[in-house]
């Protein structure tokens, strides 16, 4: 129970304004994404993917850090949660090696 008290003082001290800024930033980033994609600013889909994903990662940092208050949690918690998540997701990139091979199999490339 004491835990709840402490955290109410610690984390929400930021006040409402911050949340509206975060919200504004998210909207702006989304608009940028739509602009980039809709106008095909990067003709190469791979570049487009990289840029969009980079922007999405920024957006998720905003959501996780501010809306989900991870910013206010302990260092251990940040590392434990984000570390295991990122590790597992990075591991799955191994799949793609085989996805690309399918295209080349039997073509002599």
């Amino acid at each position: 129970m004491e835990m709840t008290e402490r955290h109410q003082h610690g984390e929400h001290a930021e006040g409402k304004a911050t949340y509206f800024y975060v919200w504004g930033a998210l909207i702006v980033l989304t608009v940028v994404e739509i602009y980039l994609a809709y106008n095909r600013v990067f003709p190469n889909p791979l570049h487009m993917l990289e840029v969009l994903l980079a922007l999405s990662v920024v957006k998720s940092v905003l959501i996780i850090g501010w809306f989900m208050h991870l910013k206010g949690e302990t260092i251990v918690m940040k590392w434990v949660l984000m570390g295991s998540l990122v590790m597992c997701l990075l591991l799955m990139f191994v799949f793609f090696v085989d996805a690309e091979r399918i295209l080349k199999l039997g073509t002599g490339r």
Binding site: M87, L91, V97, D98, A99, R101, I102, L105
Partner: protein, 591 residues
Amino acid sequence: MAEHNEHAGHEHGAPTGFIRKYIFSLDHKVIGLQYYFLALASVFIGMLLSLLMRIHLIWPTAHIPLMGEIKPEMYLTLLTMHGTFMVFFVLTTAPQSGFGNYFLPIQIGAPDMAFPVLNMLSFWTTFVAFLVMIAAFFVEGGAPLHGWTGYAPLSAIPSAGPGETLGADLWIISIAIFCIASLMGALNFITTILDLRCKGMSLMRMPLTCWAWFITAILGLLAFGVLLSAGILLLADRNLGTSFFVPGGLVVNGTQIQHKGGSPLLWQHLFWFFGHPEVYIAILPGMGVASQLLSTFSRKPIFGYKAMVYAIVGIGVLGFFVWGHHMFMSGMSPYSAFAFSLMTMAIGVPSAIKTFNWLGTIWRGRVQFDSPMLFAVGFVSLFVSGGLSGPFLAQPLLDIYLHDTFFVVAHFHLIMGVAAIFGIFAATYYWFPKMFGRMMNEPMAQAHFWLTLIGTYAIFMPMHYEGMAARPRRYSQLTEVAWLQHLMPVEKFVTYAAFITIAAQFIFVFNLFWSMFKGQRATDNPWHSTTLEWTTATPPVHDNFGCKTPVVYHGPYEYSVPGAPNDYVMQTDPTPHGGHVPKEDKPLEAE
């Protein structure tokens, strides 16, 4: 007991009424037992199926009562359901959800799990998964044939064979439900360990059983989510007309399949991303139990407690990096195969650390061969025998020959199947007095041990040779195959050994139920162990410690302490050398 009654009307008191007490109970001990008995039912189903398989392998035309002759498709059905029940409903359920639920809160000094309602829900969700799985036997076409690994495209195409229609759907749904249940269980375990350790129970004072349950829960949390999405996609492939796992241009039973564009390799990646952590989910709790028992029954502190903890953590982490060793033959990129091979061999290091520490623990100990200890030693023996074949399989070049032969069957049965089962037996014999207040019958237990140990070695050791002689895995009729004829005597031997081993299990079940009612009454701490569960009443009261929380002063394995009057120091003993004689430690008077 008296203390407990004072609190009868208290919110913390035990619930009354049959349903709240035994069906939708929120008490972790009741839930643990529910899981245990679910696993017991499943192990008998699994064992029956394996017996039928063994019979078919040497007498393919034998007439089985109620079933008739076993057809090749039927053989695959038996195989699939045997693997599924054993892996999911026995090896995942009993050691972790069963014993973990019962003893984890007690061993860390907590009154219950962190989320009792969630705990109850996860048992009943598991139970629903169990019922759905059973239902697969009885629908049109019967149970599926795609093996416990559910490889696509066989599992993704309903017309691929009998059992691949509704049966396969039920199989996938059951697995998906099981995933959800395991997720709920896993997050409950982790939260409990992080937040409900009593004063003094620092992480490095936790019994190794708790460490094992902890890491297992983390593996489950991270792995089952991936299997869940694989299951959803497979279900979509079968029913929604998507094509994640089915390649184009496939002709099945003479008709061309409409799907195109998917890749079976994707299924294998997703499945084994879960699958390899899953094999550690099955074995880690057994390792925890073995550590606890070897220390207790050798009356010696565990050799290298810290190394043991780091080894468990190391196995847990590395376990996520090696799934590709199941796919060397799948057409996976040889570069990834190389990386997976290296990582797989690296995982042998923490495994070896554990093995040597176990040996170090018994070395020069005052070993007492009570039945729990026998099974713990058996566990180590099986772990070593099964583990030695791992590094062979881990090399792509050797695995190309050995993959999908009985060599692999021998490897994983020894290390994952039987070793984990020995862990369950050891835990049962060890904790039975605490759970039911009576001792199990020792002569029966010893007979059970020797028959099972010799029996399982007799079943699985010859399989290595069969595998090297190219006896393929998952094939039904080999009696007619010319180049396997010389293996028939071995096959016969294995089947006879299976008969004897399975018969021996009835000794265990009889002992279990007989001792529950007729066994000799147990004291509160019959094995002179040091951990917290041995300080409670027998069986423990509703909130474990009777409305108070213990305080811990010692590490978990303080045996043969110089100068200690009892030779061991309870974790709750406030004095440094254990001058305190626990007064509960005398026989209970019969009422």
